[in-house]
């Protein structure tokens, strides 16, 4: 939730100027809040009681409120009681005999999400009235809510379940017939909607209309029959529809892809970074027993706020493909062991004359791997380049650069600002016979100007990749690598933010993280010991690369740090 | 009277050897058979007292159970742990079994069968032999505890030894009045002295247990001491499974354990045999002339049968008592021996001697 920021205040027109920071009491605990706080758009608006409660560490239950969405105030779950200081005729607070300010309790409760605070206000979030109100709201919500918990995907992360346990009644008084609405409605190509479960908080409507800019959803009918639906003639198919699944507090909106796949309490959630484009949205990988079930966005206000695009969200299935490269292959195609191959490769590369080696790294590799590849290239005197990937951008999150680490490749010196301009030179070099050794990491170069006949002319073709392609078929030495979910590392997004990610699943077969075997290869070549761990490698990179000066692995934290671009 | 004919002497000597070997073989076979089937009786009797059935699946009434157990004992893996002292470890079970078997030599099973006395060695000092050999079993247990080279067996073995030594003394002293009364140490003579019916009540046989209150007291003390000597409840603390982690036989498995187990039952049978011989009239019954040495084969066999029946009855007492009474705590046990039974036995001896001297004056 938003923390109190030091926002410079504009002096208001009204005569009594309220100070920029003032004290508010929440459940007897004093907390200092700013008068104005940024709202969902970032504009400064008066701080609301719910923000004051969060600042004090008190969790007020809410459904329709979301810090990144405009305030609606229709669920009434965040009703709290409050009291305001009594001001005397001289506009100074009156005092009790014992010196504390006199407080009048407001006769009515107020919704905390929409009511601004005032200096000296006291907020009570746990009085019997507040508890009774929450019970009442939940009772009303549960009147027509179906008994779907055993089959609903939201079980385990459902706010209605959680608040019903924490704040609701234990027994139901409802004996009438519930209102039945359509279930299994395909609201969009990726969204399944269940009208009975909807509590009409309107988060999905506000998100689609205000954040995405696509006014597709609305509420039809009224009273107990109110239903969310797409406006007639509009389709709910923008690239951010699956965020409504995260937003929906109950199981009304569910992902068709994740539907009935696994219960969420079984999923191990690993912090990672989406690799579908250069934005690098922060995600959580939900996996169980080395199989990935879904991606969900993590909050990072500097990169992706609370959202991620649908294309990136659904781009996890390739990690579990059965044709993943699993075995190390040596010349002639036989399966080899890592230790032998790395030693042999180091020997062979060490004998290659300077200027006869080319190295094509991928901008999908991590910073650490690119750092090691640069070291390798420098040691071998190799020509390096990377392969660009451009696509369609959109105003919200999606970047036109579909490589997650283009800036990393540039900063680490593996390619020029214009990626790919060295490729024709490399192709020419192979054709002339000047380049006899080619090292390819993570790319299918046959689709980018280096035809298979050209590759056949090489003495040594070292390829490291994840999925088989035309280049891996021609490799003399094939080193299977890991997907981003199977290793740790860091990416630099298009804005220069270095973000780290962790390992969620085990790599298949004998695949190893590239930074690991590259470090070993380099230590065979140079004779110097490899960095003992990824943290040490990152810190070493931060020291040697000027753009990353001052960064440390632990300093990256959950939100990353800016590099000096 | 052997003449100075060497051939006749040779025949007599070879006859003696053959018949002794036959008696030894027969006695040993009967002892082993009894050991096996006493276990069966114990299991079924214990079961009956405990509201359950005992072994009843192997053979009719479970009579094949001891055979099955023997087969299992032979086929089971004999584990010799690495940390034991091998020589003493392997010697101990044999040393426990040995005295029981050796003691068979002086027990009179019957009077005569044909011309052969039904006792392997009719020693004049039979009881000394019995007590002496009986003391050897202490070695077996001490070696078992020591040889196991482990805390609990050592402690269990030591406790057991202390118990055995204490009650040996009581045993020996308690039996002195009987020999004073009988006037002879020879066991066959003891049995002869119990012929007929009791002088003060002709309904009762003239067994030492009924003859006089002094010998009856000797019987009680001997009985208690016999329970203690054989490590039977209520004196079985050294091997109580519930109280200890096992005792001296913890490190043993398969055939060695079986030997300990059988040794205990063999001791029990021997104790019953001594009881029968000394106090219950041995092979005599005061009816139909069965209290005189047998002249016919039928009488001889009847005597053996009577002895065995009395033996079994004593055994049943041993088995029954196990489930009747709780066991003594170790200090209570030692207290009983040294502070109560031993003085009592000594007083009993004194009184018997005094009474006999008094009777001889009159």
């Amino acid at each position: 939730m938003s923390s109190p920021t030091t926002a410079p205040a504009k002096p208001t027109q009204s005569a009594p100027t309220t100070p920029e920071f003032f004290q508010v009491k929440v459940d007897g605990r004093v907390v200092v809040v700013p008068r104005l706080s940024p709202d969902w758009r970032g504009q400064l608006v008066p701080t609301t009681m719910i923000q004051a409660c969060f600042a004090a560490g008190v969790m007020v239950p809410h459904y329709c409120y979301h810090p990144k969405l405009p305030v609606a105030g229709n669920c009434r779950m965040c009703l709290v009681e409050f009291g305001t200081p009594v001001l005397g005729p001289d506009r100074k607070p009156l005092l009790n005999p014992d010196g504390t300010p006199k407080i009048t309790r407001a006769p009515r409760p107020a919704i905390a999400c929409a009511t601004p605070v005032m200096p000296g206000m006291e907020i009570y979030t746990n009085t019997p009235t507040v508890r009774a109100m929450r019970e009442g709201v939940l009772e009303f919500l549960l009147i027509n809510h179906p008994l779907d918990c055993p089959i609903c995907d939201q079980a385990g992360e459902c706010k209605l379940q959680e608040y019903a346990v924490d704040h609701g009644l234990a027994a139901s008084r409802f004996v009438e017939t519930k209102v039945h609405k359509p279930k299994q409605v395909e609201l969009g190509p990726r969204i399944m909607f269940d009208a009975e479960r909807c509590i009409l908080c309107s988060r999905c409507i506000r998100f689609t209309r205000d954040i995405v800019g696509d006014d597709a959803l609305g509420i039809l009918h009224r009273g107990s029959y109110s239903t969310i639906a797409t406006w007639p003639g509009r389709a709910f198919d923008n690239n951010y529809t699956l965020n409504t699944v995260d937003l929906c507090p109950v199981g009304a909106l569910t992902s068709k892809d994740f539907r009935f796949q696994m219960r969420v309490w079984f999923l191990k959630e690993t912090k990672s970074i989406c690799t579908s484009c250069g934005t690098g949205c922060n995600i959580l990988i939900g996996s169980r027993e080395n199989r990935i079930y879904r991606y969900t966005p993590r909050q990072n206000d500097a990169v992706n706020s609370c959202w991620m695009c649908d294309a990136g969200r659904l781009n996890y299935k390739w990690i579990g493909r059965p044709d993943r490269l699993k075995e190390v292959r040596g010349p002639g195609g036989q399966t080899r062991v890592w230790s032998a191959v790395l030693a042999e490769l180091a020997h062979r590369l060490g004998q290659a004359p300077r200027g006869s080696v080319a190295l094509i790294a991928s901008a999908r590799q991590t910073n650490e791997e690119l750092f090691l590849l640069k070291k390798l290239a420098t040691r071998l005197g190799a020509i390096t380049d990377s392969i660009p990937r451009e696509g369609q951008a959109d105003p919200l999150l999606v970047s036109a650069d579909k490589n997650p680490n283009s800036l990393g490749a540039r900063l680490l010196g593996l390619c020029y600002t214009e990626m790919g301009i060295n490729l024709p030179r490399i192709a020419h070099g192979i054709e002339q016979g000047a380049i006899r050794t080619l090292i390819v990491f993570g790319e299918d170069v046959t689709r980018h100007g280096l035809a298979p006949e050209l590759l056949a002319r090489l003495d040594t073709l070292v390829v490291s990749d994840i999925l088989p392609n035309a280049t891996t078929a021609l490799a003399h030495y094939l080193l299977p690598g890991c997907a981003h979910a199977e290793k740790r590392g860091s990416f630099t997004n298009v804005k220069g933010r270095v973000q780290r990610f962790f390992k969620a699943v085990e790599p298949p077969g004998n695949a190893r993280p590239e930074w690991e075997f590259l470090a070993e290869l380099l230590s065979h070549l140079t004779g110097q010991p490899a960095a003992p761990s990824l943290e040490a490698l990152f810190n070493q990179m931060a020291q040697e690369v000027p753009a990353f000066h001052g960064l440390t692995w632990t300093g990256l934290g959950d939100t990353g740090l800016e590099a000096k671009v | 009277m052997p003449e100075s004919n060497p051939r006749h002497f040779d025949t007599m000597a070879s006859d003696f050897v053959i018949f002794t070997l036959a008696k030894v073989g027969a006695a040993f076979a009967v002892l082993m058979f009894f050991v096996a089937y006493v276990v069966w009786v114990e299991r079924r009797l214990s079961a009956a007292i405990q509201d359950r059935l005992g072994p009843n699946r192997v053979g009719p009434f479970g009579l094949g159970q001891p055979i099955a157990d023997a087969v299992k004992a032979f086929l089971k893996e004999d584990v010799v742990p690495a940390h034991v002292r091998k020589v003493w470890y392997c010697l101990a079970p044999a040393l426990v079994m040995l005295p029981a078997i050796l003691n068979l030599a002086i027990i009179p099973f019957g009077s005569k069968l044909g011309s052969q006395p039904m006792v392997i060695a009719d020693l004049n000092v039979g009881i000394l032999y019995a007590l002496g050999i009986g003391s050897l079993s202490v070695y077996g247990i001490a070696l078992a505890g020591y040889g196991s080279n482990s805390k609990y067996p050592l402690l269990g073995g030591l406790r057991s030894c202390a118990q055995l030594i204490s009650y040996e003394i009581t045993l020996a002293i308690s039996v002195v009045p009987v020999f004073l009364w009988a006037g002879d140490l020879n066991l066959s003579c003891i049995i002869q002295r119990q012929a007929g019916t009791a002088p003060w009540l002709p309904l009762l046989p003239n067994w030492f247990v009924f003859q006089s209150p002094l010998t009856a007291l000797a019987f009680v003390i001997f009985l208690v001491a016999a329970f203690a000597e054989t490590n039977r409840t209520p004196f079985d603390l050294p091997e109580a499974e519930q109280e200890l982690a096992g005792g001296y036989n913890v490190e043993y498995s398969s055939i060695k354990f079986a030997l300990f187990f059988m040794g205990e039952y063999a001791h029990m049978i021997l104790a019953s045999a001594m009881l029968t011989t000394l106090f219950l009239g041995g092979w005599t019954l005061p009816i139909a002339g069965l209290d005189r040495p047998a002249t016919t084969l039928a009488a001889g066999l009847a005597h053996i049968a009577i002895f065995l029946i009395k033996l079994v009855a004593c055994m049943l007492v041993f088995l029954w008592v196990r489930w009747m009474w709780p066991r003594f705590r170790y200090d209570q046990l030692m207290d009983l021996s040294w502070r109560r039974l031993l003085p009592l036995a000594l007083v009993n001896t004194l009184l018997t001697a005094t009474w006999l001297w008094f009777r001889s004056l009159v």
Binding site: P150, H180, F260, M262, F266 | D51, L53, M324
Partner: protein, 186 residues
């Protein structure tokens, strides 16, 4: 507290009362078992013990009286199972038209009977009354894989459980009734 140790009478100190008491008790039990032939032993497998109701035997899946598999693959039993004996494969996103308004049914349901500790937590936690611990205590198999019961075997052994509430059918009936009175009518 101070334990009173009463002085024993002369008979008690000679243990004579204890001896006689012991003899009486053991003889009574002996009589009961041998003469009246009433041991407590139940000679299995010829005689089988009477299993009380509520006995926790092997867990099986049940169908209701219309033949529908009651399990809806909520995976609560898989989660609560202490030794993780239950393994459920959820149905996945394809819509299965045979499930009607229940929407979800497990694709595969395995219980490893060698891991099961027969605690009954799965029965306790099941919201659909789909898994019950029945009175089957004698489970044998010739291999470990044989003892992993799959859904067919569990349903076959579980049989039918009469469901007096029939929540889903009732829901379908109510929804049908409401469709004849749609909310958009004036």
């Amino acid at each position: 507290m101070i334990v009173r140790r009463d002085r024993l009478t002369i008979w008690e100190r000679l243990y004579l009362t204890a001896i006689w008491g012991g003899l009486k008790v053991t003889f009574r039990h002996f009589w009961r078992t041998v003469v009246r032939r009433r041991p407590v032993t139940v000679q299995y497998p010829e005689e089988k013990p009477v299993v009380p109701p509520g006995y926790r035997g092997a867990p099986y899946l049940v169908r209701d009286q219309t033949g529908r598999i009651k399990c809806v693959s909520c995976q609560l039993c898989e989660f609560v199972c202490p030794p993780k004996a239950i393994r459920i494969t959820p149905p996945g996103p394809e819509i299965d038209p045979t499930t009607g308004n229940v929407e979800k049914r497990p694709r595969q349901f395995e219980i490893d009977m060698l891991r099961c500790i027969f605690c009954g937590f799965c029965q306790e936690v099941c919201p659909e009354e789909a898994i019950f611990l029945m009175q089957d205590y004698s489970l044998t198999g010739l291999s470990r894989s044989e003892m992993i019961y799959d859904m067919d075997k569990l349903l076959r052994l579980g049989g039918v459980h009469l469901d007096p509430i029939r929540k889903w059918e009732r829901k379908a009936r109510e929804a049908q009734a409401q469709e004849t009175v749609p909310p958009t009518l004036p």
